[in-house]
Amino acid sequence: MIGGLFIYNHKGEVLISRVYRDDIGRNAVDAFRVNVIHARQQVRSPVTNIARTSFFHVKRSNIWLAAVTKQNVNATMVFEFLYKMCDVMSAYFGKISEENVKNNFVLIYELLDEILDFGYPQNSETGALKTFITQQGIKSQHHTKEEQSQITSQVTGQIGWRREGIKYRRNELFLDVLESVNLLMSPQGQVLSAHVSGRVVMKSYLSGMPECKFGMNDKIVIDKQGKAGSSEDGGKRSEVTQDAHTHTPASPAGCAALSIAIDDCTFHQCVRLSKFDSERSISFIPPDGDYELMRYRTTKDIILPFRVIPLVREVGRTKLEVKVVIKSNFKSSLLAQKIEVRIPTPLNTSGVQLICMKGKAKYKASENAIVWKIKRMAGMKESQISAEIELLPTNDKKKWARPPISMNFEVPFAPSGLKVRYLKVFEPKLNYSDHDVIKWVRYIGRSGIYETRC
C-alpha cells in the first residue's frame, strides 16, 4: 500500500510530508526531488522507480503530489486516490497552489490522517468529511451522542455520500448534459476517429433520502421497450423538456436518431450497478449538491458540428498559402458560440497576412499559430480565412511536421444525440411527490480534441 505522500512546490521544496509505512524514509523525499522534479529532461513516465522505491506523481498547476511505496500496490488505485485527494483539497480551500497548501497545512494533515490509514484509502467523499473535519476543531462536547453516531454511520455506511435529515423548502434538480466531441480528420475530409465523451452533471437540492430514476434514449432500453410495447415514458418526457432553461433541442441537424448507441458508461458510486447490469436502469439516492452522475462514450452517428477544410500550398521555400473553410453543420436556428480555430504555423515564420470573412484573426508568434475567433455562428453557415505566411530561409533539413488544425466551440445540443427522457424522484417518507420537484435540463456540446490534419 501507499507508504507515504508528499506535496512539493515547483522548486521541489516539500510542503507536506506524511509517511505511513516504516519502509519509507526521509531520503525518499529527496530522491523524488532530485530524480523527477529537478530532472533535466521531460518526465517520461508518471511512475518512477528509484532504488526499489516507486513514486507516483500528478501535477496540479505547479504543485507536485507524489505517492511513494515499496510494495506492489494497485497503481490504478494510487492515481485515483491522488486525483481524489486533489478534489478533496479543492473542495476545502479552492485552487491547489503553494500559498493555499501552506495556509492549510494543518487541515491537509488532518485530512491525510482520515482518508488514508496505513496507506489504505478510506472514505474520501467530501460531503461526509465536511461533517467532522472542520477547521474549527471539533470538541467532543459539541456533538451529541446521536450526532456522533450519525457521522460515523455516514462515514462507514452504505450511503456514505449523503447525510440524513436534509431539508429544502423548494425541491429542485438541475441536470446538465455536457458533451465533448472529439474528432481527428484527414486532410481529405475522411473521419479517422470520432467520439463523444459525455457527462451527466447534476445539482440536486432534495429533501430527505430521495430515490431517483434516470432515463435517456439509450438504444438498448428503447429497443427492449419497443418489443415489450411499453409506453411508460410518454407523459414524463414533455415534463422534463418543457422547462429547460436554455434551448431545448429538437433534433439539431435533423438527422439525430431516436435512440443512441452508448459504447460504454460509468457511474457515480451512488448508482446501483447491479441493477444497471441486469435491467439497464439507472437508479440511485443522489448526493446533496453538485456531483457527476455518469460518464459515457459514443462513437456512432455523431453529429459533427463543424467541418474544417484546409488548403495548404507551399509557394517556393519562403512562402506558404493557407486557406481554411469552416462549415457549421446543425440546424440553422441554433447558435454556436466561442468558436476558435487554431492554425499552426512553421517555426521560421517571419510574417503573416490575414483576411477573414467573419470574426477576428491574429497571428500569435509565441504560440506559433494563427488564432481565428468568432463569437457566434448559426447553423448551416460557412466562413473562410486565408493567410499568406512568409518564411525565413533555414538550413534545417527536417520538414515542418504540420501539426493539425484544431478547433474550439460550444453548441447548445448534445452531439451524441443523447436525450433525457425522464428523471423521477420518490421520497416515501416525506410528503412531496415527483411532480413537486422542479427540474431543469440543459444540453451543452463542446469541442474536445477536434482536429483536422493539413
Partner: protein, 949 residues
C-alpha cells in the same frame, strides 16, 4: 491569519523559543507553537529535542491540537522510545472516550507508533476496539491489526487477533469488511502458506455481498482479494464473474481494472464454447476503451495493462484499433504505449490505416517516438505479409529524408524484414549502402554489417565495405565487433579467393588483440572450424536460418500469466514480476492463472517457473544478443527451438544436419577451449573443393574436441528398467530399436539396441528429441560409426543433457523421438522412469526438510500404496539410495518405520517423501509432497519400479 508563516521561521535559537512557547499557559500560544514544530518537521528540520514539551500538550480536549501532537509522536516516537511511554496513558484513556471519533483516532495513532513498550499496551484497547459497537472504530481497528502485525507478527498471532479479524469478514458494515479484507490480504502476503485468507464459497459470497455496498476503495480491496481465489469449477467461476461484471461501469478506474483482473483470471476456467464466455469477452472491451478517456496518468497505467491483456486475449480489442491512434497532445508516455498496442493489434484488416498513421508519426518531433514509429513500420511488415511491400517502400521514403536517427532505425528494421522474407527485397541494398557513413549507432552499424555479410555475394565491393569497418575495430562496441567477425567469415566462405587476408586479419584482431572473452571465443571457434573442416565451417556459418516469425517482443508466457494475475498493480506497469522490485518476503509468491488448458504450462514448481519459462520462449525472437550458440550459427535463437513441436517430416537431411550441428557445438562449447590456436596450421590453403555431400556426420571432424563419455564406468547402481521395443521393424522399414534409460555416474543415458532387419545396409544415423517436460536432449550425436549390415545389431549409449527446450508432456515422462538413417526418418515415443532425473545431491538437510515439508501446502500432498513388497526398511532405504532417493531420517512408531526421504530432479524441483513400512505388512504407504504436484504420480511409479526390482 494564515498558516504559511510557520514555514518561514529560520532564525537560530528557534528551538529554545519554541520550547518556551510550548510550555506557555495560553492555549492559543501552545497551539501556534505546535504548528510551528510540525511545519519544521515537514521541511526536514530535526525537532526531536522538543519531544517532552510536545508530548505535554497531548492532554487536551482540543482535537486539532491533539491530532498535531499525534502527528509529531508518529514521527519521533521511535527515536525517543522511553519518553514515548509518557503518551501511553492518554492513548489508553482515549480508547475509552464516549466519542467514537476519538476512540478511533487513538487506536489508529497508537498503531503507528513503532515502540515495543507501547505495542504491549496497545493489545487490550485494540481487542476492545475490534468489538466496538461503532463501525467507524471497528474499521479503524481492523487496519490497526495489520499495523501491529508489521511491528510484531508473533504478538498478533499470540493474541488471537487474526481470528478476530477473520470474524470481521462477516461484519454487518461493508466498510469494516473491506478493511478487514485489506488487512488480512496484507498479512497473508507475508505468510504465503498460512492459508490465512481461507477463501471458500461462503466467504466469497460474503465478499460479493459487501462488494455491492462499500466505498469505491473498499470495492478495490475486495476485488483484489477475490482475484486470489481459485474457484472450484467453471460454474462457480461463472457465477462470480456474473456478480463482478457490474463493477465494469464504476467511475473509479481502479475498481474497473481490478474487476477486469478477476474476470481475466476466472475466464480461464470457463469452457470456450460456453455462450457466457463470448458475452464476457464482449463486455470487457468497452470499459477498457473508456479508461483511455481518463487523466493521462491513468491512461498510462491502463495502456500498460491493455498491452498485457491484448497479448493474452487479442480477440477482446481487435476491433478497437482506432482508439489507440495517437493524439497530438498526448503526453509522450501515452504516445509510446499506444504505439506498442497498435502494432499488437495490427492485422490484415486494418493494416492500411495503421501504416498511414505510423507514417504520420514518423514526422513528429520527439526522437524516441519517431524511432519507435519507424520500428513499428518494420514490425508491421513482419507481422502482416501483405503489407510488407508497402512498408519497405515507406521505409525507403524515410531513409531519403536523411534524418540521421530515422535512417539508422530504418536500417535496423530492414535487416529483420530480410530475415523474414529472404530473396525478396534485396534490391534495396544499394540504397542502404549509400548511407553507410552516416551510421553512428552500434545497433544500426551491426545491422548494416550483417546485411553486407549475409548478401556478400551480391555486393561487389563487400570486402571493401567490411574492410572499412575493420580499421577502427577496437573502437567499436562488442555488438559491432561480433557482427563484423561473423560477416567477414561469411564473406570468406562465399568468396574464398579474394578475402583470405581479410579473414586472417579479423581472426587475429579478435583472438589476439581483444580482451573480450566472447569475441575471443568466437574467434577461436571460427578459426578452428575453418582449419579443421571448412565444409563444416560452411555448414555452420552459412546454415540456412529459420525465418523469424511475426511477434517480436512478446512477453514470455509464464511471465505473462503471472502479470495477468497482477493487473492494475505496479507489476503490470513495470511488466516485471513483483519479486523483481519488491524487497523482502512480500510479493515473492508467484501467482498463476488457474488451470488453463493448452497454455504451455510447465511442470516446474513456482520457484523455478521463471527460469524454465526462458527456455519455453516461442521461436520468435528477433535480435537477442549474447546467445553465443545462436550467434555462431548466425541465428538469433537457439537451434533446438527451430524444430518446432514436431520434427518436420520433410527433407530428412536438413533435420539431421542442422540439429546435429547444434548438438555438436553444444558439446564443443561445453568442452575445454583452452588450447592455443595451433590448429590454425592446417588452415591456410583455401579449400579447393567443396564436397557436395555432407550427409556424413559432421561430428567426424569435431570428434576429438569433445569426449562423448561413451565409456563411463557401468557401475551397478541406479535402477534401470529392462529394454523394451520402442520402434518395431515393421514400422520403420526394417529398423528395430529397443532401449531403456539409465543414470550412470551422474549421466543420463539412453541405451539402445539398433537392429537392422532389412535387406540393405543402414548408415547415417541421427537422432533428435521433441521438446519434453524436463528438457531432455541428446548431449551429442548418435554414435553409429560403422554401417549397420543386414541382420546385425549394435548397442548404442546416447548421453543426454537436460538443457533442451521444455514443454509439458502428457504423460509427464513422455519423450518423442525422431531417428533418421539413410532410408527415412522414423518417429516413436517412449517413457523414461523419472528416477533417472534424480540428481546425486538430492539429500536435503534435516532442518530444511522439516521446514519445506511444512511450507508446502497440504493440497500438494498425494498418497500412494505400494503393494506386495517384502523388504525391510533398511533394505528399502539402501535400494532407493542407489537411485538417488535419500533417506534423511527414520522414526519408529508403534511398529511402523517411517522413512523421510528427499530427492531432487534435474530441473531443481524437490520431492519430499514419507514412506511407511510396517513389519509383516507387504503394503507400504508413501506420501509425496512437492511444489509441483504433477510429478508425484511419476515419482510413485519409480518408487514401485525400484522397490520391486
Amino acid at each position: 491569519m494564515t498558516d504559511s508563516k510557520y514555514f518561514t521561521t529560520t532564525k537560530k535559537g528557534e528551538i529554545f523559543e519554541l520550547k518556551a512557547e510550548l510550555n506557555s499557559d495560553k492555549k492559543e500560544k501552545k497551539k501556534e507553537a505546535v504548528k510551528k514544530v510540525i511545519a519544521s518537521m515537514t521541511v526536514g528540520k530535526d525537532v526531536s529535542a522538543l519531544f517532552p514539551d510536545v508530548v505535554n500538550c497531548m492532554q487536551t480536549d482540543n482535537l486539532e491540537l491533539k491530532k498535531l501532537v499525534y502527528l509529531y509522536l508518529m514521527n519521533y516516537a521511535k527515536s525517543q522510545p522511553d519518553m514515548a511511554i509518557m503518551a501511553v496513558n492518554t492513548f489508553v484513556k482515549d480508547c475509552e472516550d464516549p466519542n467514537p471519533l476519538i476512540r478511533a483516532l487513538a487506536v489508529r495513532t497508537m498503531g503507528c507508533i513503532r515502540v515495543d513498550k507501547i505495542t504491549e499496551y496497545l493489545c487490550e484497547p485494540l481487542r476492545k476496539c475490534l468489538k466496538d459497537e461503532d463501525p467507524y472504530v471497528r474499521k479503524t481497528a481492523a487496519v490497526c491489526v495489520a499495523k501491529l502485525h508489521d511491528i510484531n507478527a508473533q504478538l498478533v498471532e499470540d493474541q488471537g487477533f487474526l481470528d478476530t479479524l477473520k470474524d470481521l469478514i462477516s461484519d454487518s458494515n461493508p466498510m469494516v469488511v473491506a478493511n478487514a479484507v485489506a488487512a488480512l490480504s496484507e498479512i497473508a502476503e507475508s505468510h504465503p502458506n498460512s492459508n490465512l485468507l481461507d477463501l471458500n464459497p461462503q466467504t466469497i459470497n460474503k465478499l460479493l455481498t459487501a462488494l455491492n455496498e462499500c466505498t469505491e476503495w473498499g470495492q478495490i480491496f475486495i476485488l483484489d482479494c477475490l482475484a486470489n481465489y481459485t474457484p472450484r469449477d467453471d460454474r462457480e467461476s461463472q457465477s462470480i464473474c456474473e456478480r463482478v461484471t457490474p463493477r465494469l461501469s464504476h467511475a473509479n478506474s481502479a475498481v474497473v481494472l481490478s474487476a477486469v483482473k478477476v474476470l481475466m483470471k476466472f475466464m480461464e476456467m470457463l469452457p470456450k464454447d460456453l455462450d457466457y464466455y463470448g458475452t464476457l469477452l464482449k463486455k470487457l472491451a468497452p470499459p477498457l476503451v473508456t479508461l483511455l478517456s481518463a487523466e493521462p496518468e491513468l491512461q498510462y497505467v491502463a495502456l500498460r495493462n491493455i498491452n498485457l491483456i491484448v497479448q493474452r486475449r487479442p480477440e477482446i480489442l481487435k476491433h478497437e484499433m482506432k482508439v489507440f491512434f495517437v493524439k497530438y497532445n498526448d503526453p509522450i508516455y501515452v504516445k509510446l504505449e499506444k504505439l506498442d498496442i497498435m502494432i499488437r493489434l495490427a492485422s490484415q484488416a486494418n493494416i492500411a490505416q495503421v501504416l498511414a498513421e505510423l507514417k504520420e508519426y514518423a514526422t513528429e518531433v520527439d526522437v524516441d517516438f519517431v524511432r519507435k514509429a519507424v520500428r513499428a513500420i518494420g514490425r508491421c511488415a513482419i507481422k502482416v505479409e501483405q503489407s510488407a511491400e508497402r512498408c519497405v517502400s515507406t521505409l525507403l521514403d524515410l531513409i531519403q529524408t536523411k534524418v540521421n536517427y530515422v535512417v539508422q532505425e530504418a536500417i535496423v528494421v530492414i535487416k529483420d524484414i530480410f530475415r523474414k522474407y529472404p530473396n525478396k527485397y534485396e534490391s534495396v541494398i544499394a540504397t542502404l549502402c549509400e548511407n553507410l557513413d552516416s551510421l553512428d549507432e552500434p545497433e544500426a552499424r551491426a545491422a548494416m554489417i550483417w546485411i553486407v555479410g549475409e548478401y556478400a555475394e551480391r555486393i561487389d565491393n563487400a570486402d571493401e565495405l567490411l574492410e572499412s569497418f575493420l580499421e577502427g575495430f577496437h573502437d567499436e562496441s562488442t555488438q559491432v565487433q561480433l557482427q563484423l567477425l561473423t560477416a567477414i567469415v561469411k564473406l570468406f566462405l562465399k568468396k574464398p579467393t579474394e578475402t583470405q587476408e581479410l579473414v586472417q586479419q579479423v581472426l587475429s584482431l579478435a583472438t589476439q588483440d581483444s580482451d573480450n572473452p566472447d569475441l575471443r571465443d568466437r574467434g577461436y571457434i571460427y578459426w578452428r572450424l575453418l582449419s579443421t573442416d571448412p565444409v563444416a565451417a560452411k555448414e555452420v556459418v552459412l546454415a540456412e536460418k529459420p525465418l523469424i516469425s511475426e511477434e517480436t517482443d512478446l512477453i514470455e508466457p509464464t511471465l505473462l500469466e503471472e502479470l495477468i494475475c497482477h493487473i492494475g498493480t505496479l507489476a503490470s506497469v513495470y511488466h516485471k514480476p513483483p519479486s523483481a522490485f519488491v524487497e523482502g518476503s512480500r510479493g515473492v509468491q508467484h501467482k498463476r492463472l488457474p488451470g488453463s488448458a493448452g497454455s504451455g504450462e510447465s511442470v516446474e514448481s513456482p520457484d523455478t517457473s521463471s527460469a524454465a519459462g526462458l527456455s519455453e520462449a516461442p521461436p520468435a525472437v528477433i535480435p537477442s544478443q549474447g546467445d553465443l550458440l545462436g550467434d555462431l550459427l548466425n541465428l538469433d535463437l537457439t537451434p533446438p527451438a527451430t524444430t518446432g513441436p514436431t520434427p518436420p517430416p520433410s527433407s530428412g537431411m536438413q533435420l539431421g544436419a542442422m540439429d546435429l550441428l547444434g548438438g555438436g557445438l553444444d558439446s564443443l562449447l561445453g568442452g575445454d577451449l583452452g588450447g592455443s590456436p595451433a590448429m590454425g596450421a592446417a588452415f591456410g590453403a583455401p579449400p579447393a573443393v567443396m564436397p557436395a555431400s555432407f550427409n556424413a556426420p559432421v561430428s567426424g571432424g569435431l570428434d576429438d574436441l569433445f569426449d562423448l563419455g561413451g565409456g563411463v564406468g557401468m557401475t551397478m547402481g541406479a535402477y534401470s528398467p529392462p529394454k523394451t521395443i520402442w520402434l518395431p521393424a515393421m514400422k520403420a522399414k526394417g529398423l528395430e530399436i529397443s532401449g531403456t534409460f539409465a543414470r550412470r555416474a551422474g549421466v543420463i543415458q539412453m541405451e539402445m539396441t539398433l537392429s537392422n532387419k532389412a535387406m540393405s545396409v543402414m548408415t547415417d544415423f541421427a537422432i533428435q528429441f521433441n521438446r519434453n517436460s524436463f528438457g531432455l536432449a541428446p548431449a551429442g550425436p548418435l554414435q553409429v560409426l560403422t554401417p549397420l549390415n543386414p541382420n546385425q545389431s549394435i548397442e548404442v549409449a546416447l548421453p543426454l543433457s537436460t538443457v533442451g527446450p521444455v514443454m509439458k508432456m502428457e504423460p509427464l515422462s513422455n519423450l518423442q523421438v525422431a531417428v533418421k538413417n539413410n532410408i527415412d526418418v522414423f518417429y516413436f515415443s517412449c517413457q523414461y522412469p523419472i528416477s533417472m532425473l534424480f540428481v546425486e545431491d538430492g539429500k536435503m538437510e534435516r532442518q530444511v526438510f522439516l521446514a519445506t515439508w511444512k511450507d508446502i501446502p497440504n493440497d500438494n500432498e498425494s498418497q500412494f500404496q505400494i503393494k506386495d513388497c517384502h523388504l525391510n526398511s533398511d533394505a528399502v532405504s539402501n535400494k532407493l539410495q542407489s537411485s538417488n532417493v535419500f533417506t534423511i531420517a527414520k522414526r519408529t512408531v508403534e511398529g511402523q518405520d517411517m522413512l523421510y526421504q528427499s530427492m531432487k530432479l534435474t530441473n531443481g524441483i524437490w520431492v519430499l517423501a514419507e514412506l511407511r513400512v510396517q513389519t509383516g505388512n507387504p503394503n507400504y504407504t508413501v506420501s509425496l509432497k512437492c511444489r509441483a504436484p504433477e510429478v508425484s504420480q511419476c515419482v510413485f511409479q519409480s518408487y514401485e519400479a525400484i522397490l520391486k526390482n
